[in-house]
């Protein structure tokens, strides 16, 4: 699978796209022949007679596995965990880090060094300087340290990932030895008998033994969103099609079932798909691409500079060995050795910061990519919403009352004196199968775990908040009979003994689909009075029902009735299977509507995105009405904007008459999407500011992401299902959900939201944008040093003065003293409100701009090298050498033969003394580089603002600068150590010499920024990197 360019041609021509499609195809077994089932998933367990199957796995239909059989089966078939896809071995990753990219160039230098050392050694073993050997060792150390550091960073983020995986164990009910046990899913083995009910995730691939109205949602596996019935009969030879298999990680929607585990862990169908989906290379983020390009440029540049100066040196008569030495110097000066290190560390600092905000970054480069995001394709459920139903509205007394849907609601909202409300509440409390799991008395109501479906949970929690103890209330009025909800009846009934000696009639309470309920009613309760349910009330009912429907809410109707004593005397037996009480004429008490409410932080986050120029697009499998309602609630569709249909209705004209350019919002359903050609889809995406995709399948999400990318957007996409993986991979940033997300999606994603919250993405974007700015500053800071060093070597060759900066000193400054100030740049806070700017366009807004190169090559590095030469002059002048005495005098200076070279004061210097002087002045030059780099870091601290506006509050920078100075002192003044790195004692007053240039740099930069801030035209554009 080669990387391919997409040049706007139809996506289908593209081999990579086809591959992607194939990926999607895998999840659509229906469209394929039987042979296309993932390899290794051959299975006859659903076909063979139950007896044989039980024998095969040594289990029993009702008692389950015997304790001693468990380890046996575990040994044979493995644990029920998905083995993560094979990662390249750590050693290979490490070797890649050490030998890859710019390091290769350094290795070449190291080899040149060792060769020239050996060469010297062979020619004149007695008379040899260890310089080349020391340089070789230093380069090797640098390469290993920087390679090791980036390796460690990757390793660390992997470790976070793994620890995170273990955080969410799930439980499942298993029958072993005839006992029901709650076991962790991972402990399930083949042959276990498990019980599943609605709301559960199927813990493994199971064959159904017994079922009751059991339906599963296979959408994450097959993309079909229709619930599918599952029962004990084998209906098809194909394991994908047969009804008696339910698959690992799919959802049980309705009913209950008992099943036997036939496949666990990676052997499950989902496991097979997972290993397929994640077995793909991650590709490159925009930053990665830029970094690669930058590395190429730097490599190319070093080689060109190296070779040309080799030529110049040979021409000037420096001799082969010296010229080779210069080449090494030039290359080492050109390669930003420290940059790879500080780049990785900066990214990982940001990743750590984001992890603290529940945003776990798997690939470091994704941090910055998130900052350049221009479209976020977000799921609805769980990401924008709280992923739990809660009661939004109640209708009683012919009025719609609003319930509190915030995430942190407490206490009651309604008055107990209101008879209408009390009647509705009574039905809501009694007619329910939901229960709090025991032992949660001290847990806040909203956080308690409930056994029961989503709507019942919502009502239960709402009532618990109102009344305090629903369980006690239910105990007061014992349940005599119950008809659970099913899809044919569309209602749920229970009959209670009201324990009222004055009125011994039983109370029947019922809830269900409102249209069904209202049909059974003859009366309606309004304000403690019963009215006949005439057309006027029916109209009211329909109006309310419709209104609640447009809110995208799920509505339930409630009614009750006191059963007449003549037909149902005290003590009568009720027939659950054959209800005969539907015609008694019920009293309608009200409606309760529920919605999965938006998370509290989301509307703000969406507004922030909008301010930041980021399009937020909702892609959901939900109904368009619900989707639109939530989109409006969170601001994805802003209040003033209408969809084309709404506009048509409001204006009373046909959809066709409306100019599409006037329409900003669009709601596109999956069915409509299917009919759109790629070009039409692009038009939709281009022309609408606010888009909601509803009823879409995961494959369509892939298509949407692709279409956005073709338009040049940088897309972040969220996803949780297995089938979202292609879209997650396709997106520039794939974001998986930490709580609800499937293992596969987490494996595929670049980033994981630990709290599933959309607002977290926005914090991530903010962090990413900041990191882009800070990386730019980092480049400006670190390149200056490299380039100044390169100039020093150039001037050395051209001016024929003694060498100003040894190669080892270059390494020490770039990989030593620069590192801490460089790292502190990553803690720089934003200069302006970065969330008010448009997202950067990676095609135009690059990290390495011509202006940045101009600034580094032409400005700050020049000031640094001038400072260095000034300090060097001071050093030589103090010792008696005027600068002109040194010009073009290199060969005499470096000649061992000349033992009496005359300085400006007529003193005569031995070779030894000259060498010592050279090393001393090189040390002074090094000091100058260290100090001007400190001035530089305070210049690079801001890109626009004055340092006087921004202040020096970044304590990490101040500490980093102090560390740099201490480190320089340590290198220069530690006996023996300084000797090996060719540093010599430098008088303390020499540290003052670079001061004027530090100030010059500072004031130049202030003026530069002042021009950038206060004027327009070519000058500020040229100056602003």
């Amino acid at each position: 699978m080669g990387k391919s360019k997409r040049n706007g041609s139809s996506a289908k021509d593209n081999p990579a796209f086809e591959n992607d499609l194939q990926m999607v195809e895998i999840h659509k077994p229906k469209a394929q022949e039987k042979g296309a089932i993932p390899q290794g998933f051959e299975c006859d367990d659903h076909r063979i007679p139950l007896e044989t199957l039980l024998k095969r796995y040594g289990t029993h239909e009702t008692k389950g596995l015997k304790e001693d059989q468990v380890p046996v089966n575990r040994a044979i078939y493995g644990r029920n965990v998905l083995t993560p896809p094979k990662k390249p071995s750590l050693i290979i990753v490490l070797i890649k880090e050490i030998w890859g990219g710019l390091n290769l160039l350094l290795w070449a230098c190291a080899i040149l060094c060792i060769v020239s050392y050996l060469f010297q050694y062979v020619i004149s073993p007695g008379n040899i300087t260890p310089d080349n050997l020391i340089l070789f060792v230093s380069i090797v150390i640098v390469v290993h340290v920087s390679g090791g550091c980036s390796f460690y960073q990757d390793f660390k983020s992997d470790r976070i990932m793994e620890s995170f995986k273990d955080m969410v164990p799930r439980q499942s009910v298993v029958i072993r030895n005839g006992k029901r046990l709650d076991l962790e899913v991972a402990d399930i083995v083949v042959g276990d008998i498990v019980e599943v009910k609605y709301g559960d995730l199927i813990p493994a691939d199971i064959r159904i033994l017994e079922s009751h109205d059991f339906k599963v949602d296979n959408s994450s596996l097959t993309g079909e969103s229709e619930p599918q019935k599952r029962s004990a009969e084998c209906t098809d030879d194909n394991p994908m099609e047969t009804r008696n298999l339910a698959f690992f990680s799919t959802n049980a929607l309705e009913g209950v079932a008992t099943g036997m585990v036939i496949r666990v862990g990676s052997n499950t169908l989902m496991g097979q798909l997972a290993s397929l989906a994640s077995n793909v290379d991650g590709g490159n983020s925009p930053l990665g691409i830029e970094l690669n390009k930058f590395i190429k440029i730097m490599t190319f540049r070093s080689i060109i500079f190296g070779l040309s100066f080799f030529g110049v040196a040979m021409f000037l008569g420096y001799g082969l060995q010296n010229s080779v030495y210069f080449v090494i110097g030039i290359v080492v000066a050109n390669v930003p050795e420290g940059l790879a290190l500080t780049f990785t560390m900066t990214l990982s600092v940001a990743a750590t910061k984001m992890a603290k905000k529940s945003c776990l970054v798997k690939h470091l480069h994704a941090v910055e990519a998130l900052g350049s995001t221009s479209v976020i394709c977000s799921d609805k459920t769980g990401t924008l919403t709280q992923n739990k139903m809660s009661v939004a509205h109640l209708w009683f007394n012919n009025e719609i009352a609003e319930a509190d849907t915030s995430e942190f609601q407490t206490g009651q909202t309604f008055s107990f004196k209101d008879a209408g409300f009390m009647a509705l509440a009574n039905v809501a409390m009694l007619c329910s199968r939901a229960n709090f799991k025991p032992g949660q008395e001290n847990v806040p109501v909203l956080k308690r775990i409930v056994e029961g479906d989503a709507s019942e949970t919502a009502i239960l929690k709402c009532m618990e908040l109102q009344f305090g103890n629903v369980v006690k209330y239910r105990q007061k009025y014992p349940k005599l009979c119950e008809i659970p909800f099913n899809s044919t009846n569309k209602f749920q009934v229970s009959i209670h003994d009201m324990r009222n000696p004055g009125d011994p009639r039983y109370l029947l309470v019922m809830k269900g689909a409102p249209e069904r309920i209202i049909n059974l009613c003859t009366k309606i309760l309004i304000n403690d009075k019963e009215y006949d349910l005439d057309d006027q009330w029916l109209q009211e009912f329909n109006k309310t029902y419709h209104t609640l429907g447009t809110y995208g809410e799920r509505v339930l109707g409630f009614c009750d009735c006191k059963l007449p004593l003549d037909r149902y005397p005290v003590g009568v037996e009720f027939q659950e299977d054959d209800p005969d009480f539907l015609d008694v004429g019920f009293r309608f008490v009200g409606l309760i509507s529920m919605i999965d409410p938006p998370r509290a932080a989301v509307p703000d986050a969406v507004a922030k995105c909008r301010a930041a120029g980021i399009k937020v697009v909702m892609v959901t499998g939900d109904h368009p009405v619900t989707a639109t309602a939530i989109a409006r609630a969170v601001g994805i569709i802003t209040p003033g904007n209408e969809t084309i249909e709404e506009m048509a209705i409001n204006k009373g004209i046909s959809v066709k008459d409306i100019n599409p350019a006037d329409v900003k919002a669009a709601v596109v359903s999956g069915a409509e999407l299917k009919l759109l050609s790629p070009d039409e889809l692009r038009n939709v995406l281009r022309h609408h500011e606010e888009i909601v995709f509803a009823r879409t399948s995961p494959e369509q999400k892939y298509i949407i992401v692709d279409a956005f990318q073709d338009l040049g957007f940088i897309v972040a996409s969220t996803g949780d299902g297995v089938n979202d993986s292609p879209a997650l991979k396709k997106a520039d940033i794939g974001i998986a959900m930490g709580i609800t997300g499937s293992e596969v999606s987490k494996e595929t994603a670049d980033m994981i939201l630990m709290d599933d919250n959309f607002a977290t993405i926005v914090t991530g974007v903010e962090e990413g944008r900041l990191i882009f700015d800070n990386l730019k500053k980092l480049l400006a800071y670190q390149l200056a040093d490299n380039i100044a060093e390169m100039y020093s070597v150039m001037f050395f060759i051209i001016l024929g003065v003694p060498l100003q900066m040894g190669t080892i000193a270059m390494l020490l400054s770039v990989c030593g003293t620069d590192v801490f100030p460089a790292l502190s740049l990553s803690y720089e806070t934003a200069e302006a409100d970065i969330m008010k700017l448009k997202p950067r366009n990676p095609r135009e807004d690059k990290m390495v701009t011509p202006q940045l190169l101009s600034y580094c090559y032409g400005q700050n590095s020049f000031m640094e090298v001038f400072s260095g030469y000034f300090v060097s002059c001071v050093c030589y002048m103090c010792n008696g050498w005027m600068p002109w005495a040194l010009l073009w005098n290199q060969s005499a200076w470096n000649s061992k033969a000349i033992n009496d070279m005359k300085d400006s004061y007529g003193q005569e210097w031995t070779y030894y003394a000259r060498q010592e002087l050279t090393f001393t002045c090189q040390t002074a030059f090094f000091i100058s580089i260290v100090l001007t780099q400190i001035a530089n870091v305070y210049c690079c601290k801001t890109r626009r603002m004055s340092l006087y506006q921004k202040g020096i509050g970044n304590m990490r920078m101040n500490i980093g600068v102090s560390i740099a100075i201490l480190l320089a002192c340590f290198l220069i003044y530690t006996p023996y150590l300084n000797f090996y790195v060719n540093f010599r004692y430098v008088r303390p007053e020499m540290w003052l010499a670079p001061l004027p240039f530090m100030l010059y740099m500072h004031f130049y930069d202030e003026i530069r920024k002042l021009i950038i801030r206060s004027s327009t035209g070519w000058l500020p554009t040229e100056m602003n990197f």
Binding site: K5, A369, Y869, C878, G880, Q907, Y912, E1022
Partner: protein, 341 residues
């Protein structure tokens, strides 16, 4: 699926290097239009002019804190404060052609070839010519033991007589296979030799002490002071009673074959020191006085006929109490080779 996160925002927008060199659409050369190049050039001219001016300003300000060499000032840092140290090296003339091989210290010539000899002897002629006192140089005086010596302003005349065979007329002995090599001590500002045999406490000459100290030097390993030099010093001291200290303030000189083989090829007896086996103390201290000339010793190497066509390593050492010796770093000594064909 490797094509994900598409390469489509590959930088440069697909334009190749050719487009970068010249883009016919926008008229850009190397990524800029001509106008843009002009502006950026003007910007950088101003930028560098300012930077250079600032550099020059700093340089000039710093230079005012120095004594100027052309005004016979002192270096800012001297002796041990400077990197030059307080241990003079030793230099020799003539030197091989530096342009041909800067690392060579080999004096090699054919006696038969006058041009060969001339290359070396001309250098010495030049050196001696430069010693001539300029017209109107009023601070040059004749110095002698017990007589004048150098001061802050005054310098000693370096005599060009009394050099025996080492004269211009004789072509410094080169054609005869008895080449003269000029040995001089490196000038170090303010440096003065510390004499042997002076009692530190009384500051008086002590014969016994002198003998002890010289003997100590003779015994030094690996290679001590030649006994001949010790005797020479004692002899010179004895010659000038009352001026012992003055005599002892000299920096003494010894030259010899570097290794045992070299000593065989160039026996001690074949080495002559002219006019004096050392540099008398009255030349010190060097204080960058006007008209100061380097004093020297001519060392005539009477290379035996048998040692012709043989390369001989010669090492000359300077001796005073405060001259330290290091063979590798060439401190207090100088090394050269001689090959007479």
């Amino acid at each position: 699926m490797a094509g994900k996160k598409s390469d489509k925002y590959s930088p440069n927008g697909g334009g190749g290097f050719g487009t970068f060199l010249y883009n016919s659409d926008t008229g850009q050369v190397l990524g800029r239009t001509c106008g843009s190049w002009l502006k950026i050039t003007v910007f950088y001219i101003i930028f560098y002019a300012c930077l250079a001016a600032f550099f020059y300003l700093c340089y000039q300000i710093f230079a005012t804190t120095l004594e100027r060499p052309e005004e016979n000032g002192s270096p800012k840092w001297t002796q041990d404060a400077s990197l030059i140290g307080a241990n003079p090296g030793v230099g020799f003339r003539p030197m091989p052609d530096q342009d041909k091989n800067s690392e060579s210290t080999l004096i090699w010539y054919r006696t038969k070839d006058p041009a060969d000899s001339a290359f070396w002897s001309d250098q010495l002629t030049d050196f001696l010519n430069k010693l001539k006192v300029k017209e109107g140089a009023d601070n040059v005086v004749e110095c002698s033991v017990g007589g004048n010596s150098a001061t802050q302003k005054r310098v000693c005349k370096v005599p060009t007589e009394g050099l025996g065979d080492c004269t211009v007329d004789n072509s410094f002995g080169y054609p005869d296979g008895k080449p003269c090599v000029l040995i001089k001590l490196n000038k170090i500002y303010d440096w003065e030799p510390e004499p042997f045999g002076i009692d530190d406490d009384t500051n008086k000459y002590d014969k016994k002490l002198l003998e002890d100290e010289l003997e100590e030097k003779v015994q030094e390993q690996p290679k001590g002071m030649p006994v001949s030099l010790k005797n020479y010093i004692l002899n010179e001291v004895a010659k000038k009673p009352g001026n012992e200290i003055e005599v002892l303030r000299s920096v003494w000189l010894s030259c010899a074959g570097e290794n045992v083989g070299d000593e065989e090829n160039l026996p001690e007896s074949s080495i002559t020191y002219l006019p004096f086996r050392g540099i008398p103390g009255y030349y010190f201290p060097y204080k960058n006085q006007p008209n100061y000339k380097s004093p020297f010793v001519m060392v005539q190497l009477n290379v035996p006929e048998t040692s012709h066509h043989t390369l001989i390593n010669v090492e000359c050492r300077a001796w005073a109490k405060n001259v330290k010796y290091d063979r590798i770093d060439r401190l207090g000594s100088v090394h050269f080779e001689i090959l007479v064909d």
